[in-house]
């Protein structure tokens, strides 16, 4: 059972909470991969889903970049082909220019003709980010995109995400159960627990002094980590 309601501006919003709280499910509903039973979803002024008026825009037309946890670069395409697949149409020359731009932006030079199987986890995730962004989506949805990476890489990817925010000025929804990630990345945090939103606020508000027992417990367990990074 998932029953949530929240809104966001052009900012980086973190959906935070334990596994199974409904964070990924929310993201899949926003992307149109799963249909909610009730309610509505807006993206800017665009209605993506509304039960009462029976509107349900298919995922293809929602213009949202979606990055999954892992195994998401197309294994049968090279880096260049993977990124190019993010473009729906356009002239060959124009596409090639855009792809080259993304390759440069995401530091993938020299890997253009490599297949995902020949690359590291961090490189693969950079490819999928580039692929999701090349079509200039209205928002970027990230479902625990760095959870399969090691700590060093994760820090690098977080920096990359800040850089993406500056470069593309696109709203980002980041799903994570990593407290440090939520704390260091978010403009706004939505805390999930058992299919409900239990708290919404800035990282300082949420992690400074919590008022919800679930969040308190989570904070207590992770307090040393948080302190170490302050």
């Amino acid at each position: 059972m998932l029953d949530v309601s929240w809104e966001m501006d052009n900012e980086l919003l973190v959906l935070f909470g334990p596994s199974g709280a409904g964070k990924s499910l929310t993201l899949q509903m926003i992307a149109g991969l799963i249909e909610p039973d009730e309610g509505f979803i807006f993206s800017g002024k665009k209605i993506l889903f509304d039960r009462t008026t029976a509107i349900n825009i298919p995922p293809q037309q929602r213009s949202l970049g979606y990055v999954f946890q892992d195994r998401v670069a197309f294994p049968h395409m090279t880096v260049r082909e993977n990124i190019d697949y993010g473009l729906i149409n356009g002239h060959k020359v124009d596409r090639e220019r855009k792809v080259s731009e993304m390759i440069k932006l995401f530091h993938l030079e020299g890997l253009e003709s490599k297949y995902p199987g020949e690359m590291s986890g961090g490189q693969k995730q950079r490819v999928t980010l580039a692929r999701a962004l090349i079509g200039r989506p209205d928002a970027l949805l990230l479902d625990e995109p760095f959870s399969a990476l090691d700590t060093v890489l994760r820090t690098e990817m977080r920096q990359l995400l800040h850089y993406i925010r500056q470069q593309f000025n696109t709203p980002i929804i980041l799903v994570t159960h990593d407290m440090l990630e939520a704390y260091s990345m978010a403009d706004k945090v939505v805390v999930y627990s058992g299919g409900q939103v239990v708290q919404i606020g800035t990282p300082t508000q949420i992690f400074g002094g919590a008022s919800n027992p679930d969040v308190d417990l989570f904070l207590a367990l992770n307090y040393p980590i948080l302190m170490a990074h302050r």
Binding site: A31, G32, L33, P58, P59, Q60, Q61, R62, S63, L64, G65, Y66, F68, Q69, R71, V72, F74, P75, H76, Y85, G86, I88, T128, R131, A132, G135
Partner: protein, 221 residues
């Protein structure tokens, strides 16, 4: 080499190639629907396309006569329109091989389609690509090995078709006598040396096909 043997060899290859091409087109489509769609009667469709695998080929052949015979369900219309019947032509042999080989293609390809990671398909959708483009650019290329393995198995099965072929195409020397039928005739008339050539040839070829299909299936996982 003997002209009977050469003819049956050529005819068998012709029948198997035509049947396999048809099996690939229909099989990939049916497998895709079964792997990716949910609908009422899906179980029934699955059983329908698996039946020729377990039915005695003579039963499959019998059904084909009921459907395509001169007085058959479809056959009578074809005959009244064109004055032609598929029965006892090499087309009938191809049709029999097609029906009997199709389940192998559907089973193998469906398994390959189902093993394609769902998030790759979702990723393609969220990037704005239609279902058709996603099938052509993501699902089929990733399931390629399974599709090829299915096609090879189907080809081997089509090449070896005997029972249903005998029912609908007969065993007309120089017209519909495929390799398995020729072996039967040769053994019946005691021409063992000729039969030996075909039997050995057949065994080696089928073994080679299975080896290739196995290799491909293993790399699938």
């Amino acid at each position: 080499m003997d002209s009977t043997i050469l003819f049956s060899l050529r005819l068998s290859l012709q029948v198997a190639v035509v049947a396999t091409l048809a099996v690939m087109v229909v099989g990939v489509y049916v497998a895709y629907i079964l792997a990716r769609r949910d609908f009422r009667g899906k179980e029934f469709v699955d059983i329908l396309f698996t039946l020729p695998l377990v039915l005695p080929p003579t039963v499959t052949g019998y059904y084909l006569i009921i459907l395509f015979g001169r007085n058959g369900f479809f056959g009578r219309y074809i005959y009244s329109l064109t004055g032609w019947s598929i029965m006892f032509t090499w087309y009938a042999a191809a049709l029999a091989s097609f029906v009997v080989a199709l389940p192998l293609m559907v089973k193998t390809t469906r398994a390959a389609f189902e093993s394609v990671d769902k998030s790759l398909i979702d990723a393609s959708y969220t990037l704005g690509h239609t279902e058709l483009k996603t099938a052509l650019r993501v699902i089929i290329p990733i399931a390629k090995r399974g599709i090829i393995a299915g096609a090879i198995l189907s080809f081997a099965r089509a090449l070896g078709e005997f029972g249903a072929t005998l029912m609908v195409a007969g065993n007309i020397p120089g017209k519909t006598s495929t390799m398995p039928l020729t072996i039967y005739s040769l053994a019946n008339s005691g021409e063992w040396s000729k039969a030996n050539i075909l039997v050995i040839f057949f065994t080696c070829m089928s073994g080679a096909f299975l080896y290739i299909a196995n290799k491909l299936s293993k790399r699938l996982i």
